[in-house]
Symmetry: C2
Subunit: 302 residues, 2 copies
Amino acid sequence: MMGVLVVGTVTLDTVETPQKRVEDVLGGSGTYAAVAASFFGNPVRLIGVVGTDFPQEYTDFLQIRSIDLEGLTRVENGKTFRWGGKYAEDFNVRDTLFTELNVVTDFHPVLPDAYKETPYLFLANDPPQLQLSIIEQASNPKLVVCDTMDFWIHEEREALEKTIERVDILILNDSEAKLLTGESNLLNAARAILRKGPQRVIIKKGEHGAISITESSFFSAPAYPLTSVVDPTGAGDSFAGGFMGYLASVGDVSEGSIRKAMMYGTVVASFNIEDFSINRQKSVQFDEIEARYRELQDAMRF
Amino acid sequence: MMGVLVVGTVTLDTVETPQKRVEDVLGGSGTYAAVAASFFGNPVRLIGVVGTDFPQEYTDFLQIRSIDLEGLTRVENGKTFRWGGKYAEDFNVRDTLFTELNVVTDFHPVLPDAYKETPYLFLANDPPQLQLSIIEQASNPKLVVCDTMDFWIHEEREALEKTIERVDILILNDSEAKLLTGESNLLNAARAILRKGPQRVIIKKGEHGAISITESSFFSAPAYPLTSVVDPTGAGDSFAGGFMGYLASVGDVSEGSIRKAMMYGTVVASFNIEDFSINRQKSVQFDEIEARYRELQDAMRF
């Protein structure tokens, strides 16, 4: 069985939507990605850090999902990363209310020996220096995929460029792709990113789906059409996690498998959006994932 | 041969982009749609109105495209509809600089007898009362497709609702779909439109493509990936015109043909964007259309 190693944040989130407010719910890029990857039956390992305030029920949930937590560091007397965000009426605008890095500030993860040979490595949103250190500790991974965000493009561009040089696939938002390259045309932005090192760039466009671009291929994946948007937090990480989980399950990174993986990522992200935190994922069955996958197949057939 | 009847505006446009400004170039919803439909080899008839200031070279161009101009009224001593618009850096924002309706104000077209039995009827952007009058004069068309815009939703909602009741397919922008229905979720907006009468709604999302929704089907078409955006004016009308032209060429309105027609519309629109006015369409060959169609097929295959 091919494993997936997810490196990312594990956080306590406070999220406000026009309908509801939730406090200190389980969140973080690592959480969303690992949970998404765990749907595909392969070992999922999570590298992250929490404080002693991290609720036992959240740890229990991750373990129930069969996520290996040997790499989840618990800092004594530390406080877990906390993030607060607020969505406007149509969910297209999100304001960050607060970001308390807490235990993440001094986190320098050492890969457990058992993790070093994990073939599928996903570096979810994290400081680029941390991402690079993981790449350097990993032992010949089959695929290295990296996400990032506007904050690191602004604050740590040099370190980020060094990390990007070393990854096979960079996943990021459309606005981040434009910010990283200074290109206002998305296709030009994607091509500029390919020149920085990755063989492939996957650009997430939220409700408009995602595109994948290499030197010689272009693929466009629509989003799953949803009427019940409750909380989009973590959708991008769920997309990436589902993408990695599917790839690990087939053990193949061909163009065909990459495209299917994007569609599975799209489906897992669609469930994520239907409730706060990872609540919807608690009840999702694999046949529901397959059903939405088939719906998307039909929605793209002509 | 199945004909297409296009009813829409024929205008003289002044367009400003960050790169260039053009004045009194051939434009209008009817022009773009008719030119797009004319690529598919079927008779295309155009209902519209111009003034005596309408340049002969523009009339000549439409005739070279084999567009039947019996329905193009020329008002003696009248001035052609003029529109001016300005695009911002990334082409996503357009400001209307001026709109001079001129001869359109008192235009009450009477369908020439030869036009009445045209099976494919496309009502491009026009006052909804005018659109309804055409529907009432047409003799049992096989397919009635209607476009509209925010101006009519604001100013002539009642008349527009009456027109919408009578059409098979409504084509409009995402923001217009939301405005027309008061729904912020696009899928809910589409469903609300279906309850107003049309069997199908096609929502144009600009650079994010278009979706088609019926009671029982969902189709998502990406935009053609372009790096050379010169002037997006008329892209939506070109999409609709290509859509109608393809349908007329196959003489079929099945779900399968509708989907292919959306892809052909997407391709014709992509050429339109590569130059001002209909300049790019002057040189496009059908094998170029087929080549982009195949590229899109590949970009959606998984």
